[in-house]
Symmetry: C2
Subunit: 236 residues, 2 copies
DNA sequence: GTCAAGAAGATTGTCGACAGACGACAAAAC
DNA sequence: GTTTTGTCGTCTGTCGACAATCTTCTTGAC
């Protein structure tokens, strides 16, 4: 604390300089590979291969994988290694119901105690419209959508809500990206967020809760339906 | 964890056995030490010391600690190591609100779709009465109480609810045990579970949800109040 | 042709070692 | 006396090696 304040008061122009280590970088790299589809669900993640490819030892790779495991992207089997988790339609359905439960409570708290969060939410919806206008890819849409929902959890004032959201965020993204396309008209994705923002703006917590529950419920149906079809079809 | 439950549901009389061994055993051992108070919040957990004491290398210890980190018992700081997490009253309050949200949804689902779970819940309440009768210690009470709540999440049919519950279970226990004593009369702990079970038995989901929300809410107030006092007093 | 047993290869589990980072304390400068 | 600088011990970050374990392929019997 002393160091910080003195540095600030003396006005040094230095940034904290990210001291995040190797493990974080490896983890991030793996997440990108999985979410981009370069590594597909069910595929094995051999520590040695990854280590060799990244030109480092197995230890940091192993730790990064353990990190991904706790965020649900990857599954670990004793003496067999790590695998990209493959989710059933049921499991994804459960995931969305968890999101409904969490985000309903979050939006309620936000509406009642933190109206200042509204501009940030509005900005995200605008961003979604712009992406639709520009014909952006699915990845970008999903990313901004998740940012919107994260802002809701963050604005609830309950750190635990945010913690749970972050823990399932990557898994949700993976579920979405496997599908390839969610709405036929990309504008719909932006539009479906309007009722939530309107209810918050009106200060109506019940309406906001109902709106977000409906919003996530619709997404749930779309996603589980798609995945159900995929699993019927693509059994190799 | 999954292994344990599946073994239990299949009714094998075997203990988990050291199938995965080391890492799990180390993790379990550390959890016990923390929950028993042998290692106190804020204390540093030096890998080398633990490894030497358990007569093994640092690698499995490190992995076990990372495991505990994802369950919130332990906190990691880059280049500084692991510390037992010390929770503010606020943080514990948030934790209980998360529990209200999750378990309310869980008990609702359970009441509507899975009445077969009732006998198991009744048995846990009986167990609580027996513990009170026998004058058992706080640890035993807390343990059975948590088993009751876990059964509710399990009975909801939504694996994600159970997953979140398991993730915060140890932290909840720690919060409780730090206090030392929750209810003056140990019978009260058993009694406060009755309305929940009754509502489930009546098939009234709304009543069950209200009952469990009230039940956890009371516990929340007790715990946060205790912790608030402790933090005022015990600033060394 | 099918199945089982065993050998060979590959991958994980654990270890000990060394380099780098951090905190504490001592020494020096003002 | 206070602040800065230098030094030291301890702990983490990463590595390469070896043992234990799983998977695959081969071999042989029926």
């Amino acid at each position: 604390m002393n160091r910080e304040t003195s540095a600030l008061s003396e006005g040094y122009p230095f940034l904290p300089l990210s001291r995040n280590g190797l493990v974080d970088r490896v983890a991030h790299s793996l997440v990108s590979a999985i979410l981009s589809g370069a590594i597909r669900p069910g595929e094995r993640l051999a520590e040695s291969h990854i280590a060799r490819q990244m030109d480092l030892s197995r230890a940091p790779v192993r730790e990064a994988l353990r990190l991904l495991e706790s965020s649900g992207l990857v599954e670990y089997r004793t003496n067999r290694g790590f695998f990209v988790r493959v989710n059933s339609a049921r499991s994804i359905g459960d995931l969305y119901e968890l999101r409904i439960v969490i985000e309903t409570a979050a939006v309620r708290a936000l509406t009642l105690t933190n109206p200042d969060a509204l501009p940030g939410l509005r900005a995200k919806v605008d961003e979604l419209y712009q992406l639709a206008e520009a014909g952006a890819d699915m990845m970008s849409h999903v990313s901004v959508d998740m940012q919107f929902h994260r802002l809701i959890c963050e604005g609830s004032g309950n750190q635990r809500f945010l913690q749970v959201f972050d823990q399932i965020a990557n898994e949700t993204k993976l579920g979405l990206l496997v599908i390839g396309r969610l709405y036929d008209d990309p504008h719909r994705m932006a539009e479906t967020h309007e009722p939530i923002v309107d209810a918050i703006a009106a200060g109506d917590a019940d309406a906001a809760a109902a709106a977000i529950a409906y919003h996530i419920g619709v997404a749930k149906d779309l996603v589980t339906e798609h995945i159900g079809k995929q699993q019927e079809a693509g059994e190799t």
